[in-house]
């Protein structure tokens, strides 16, 4: 299962983390999914409701998720994933990220932001069939080949 993004969406997702640095950013990915690929078509920025510890925690208000779900429904899309940033922290999921991940089959994209600059972006698929057997699986992010940061080997 790969995650397909356009270059503008990929840039916007990373830029969001730079803008909110040193706080975590978060957002919702709308698109479509088939058996082998998640395609992101729209990105919705969400407000981080964790104002108490926004540098190392994020939370998306359910009201924002409901309006995202409504927007997806009207556009013929679905919620296919989420993204957030790790200010001065690697682009790897944390124990907290895992414990609080419940959208099976969805992509969780994490961007490391070091000293205000977005560095590595990774995506993890929340695999499994229920809460008790879920796991995060690294998935490749597929961008159109014109992406300047891709090696052409």
């Amino acid at each position: 299962m790969t995650l397909k993004l356009s270059n503008p969406l990929y840039r916007e997702l990373r830029a969001h983390g730079e803008e909110t640095y040193p706080h975590e950013c978060c957002g919702i990915l709308l698109g479509s999914a088939d058996g082998s690929e998640i395609t992101v078509q729209r990105l919705l920025r969400a407000g981080n409701t964790r104002t108490d510890s926004a540098h190392n925690r994020y939370n998306i208000a359910p009201q924002e998720l409901i309006s995202a779900q409504r927007e997806a429904r009207q556009a013929g899309l679905e919620i296919v994933g989420f993204y957030h940033s790790h200010p001065d922290h690697p682009a790897q999921w944390s124990a907290t990220d895992f414990a609080e991940a419940h959208w099976l089959g969805c992509a969780y994209v994490i961007t490391a932001v070091e000293q205000g600059r977005a560095t590595v972006t990774n995506s993890f698929l929340l695999a499994g069939t229920r809460e008790e057997d879920k796991s995060f699986r690294p998935q490749s992010i597929v961008l159109p080949s014109s992406a300047p940061h891709l090696d052409s080997d």
Partner: protein, 97 residues
């Protein structure tokens, strides 16, 4: 009422995003939903029958947990019920390495 199903649970509602269900209260709607799609039971409720802590149920724009009557709140046919698992996380504060 219409019940909106989040992406991960559509596998258990024959891929339907919206399920129309009869019921006079939130609890009756949820019970009718699970009766129609029994595989949803373990995803929505604990073994004690309580809504799982990370599953939010909204009646229109209100969190059912915070309604005075909770799941006993009366529902009219035009109401929208949304099931929304929570989204949260963050970097651990444990020292790395």
């Amino acid at each position: 009422m219409n019940i909106h199903i989040p992406t991960p649970l559509r596998a258990y509602t024959d891929k339907q995003e919206t399920v129309s269900i009869p019921g006079a209260t939130v609890a009756e709607g949820l019970a009718a939903l699970v009766a129609a799609h029994p595989a949803l039971q373990q995803h929505l409720f604990t073994s004690e029958g309580k809504l799982r802590s990370f599953v939010n149920v909204y009646l229109n724009d209100d969190d059912v947990r915070w309604l005075p009557a909770g799941q006993a709140t009366a529902v009219s046919p035009g109401d929208e019920l949304s099931i929304i698992p929570s989204i949260a996380g963050g970097c651990s504060k444990e020292p790395s390495i």
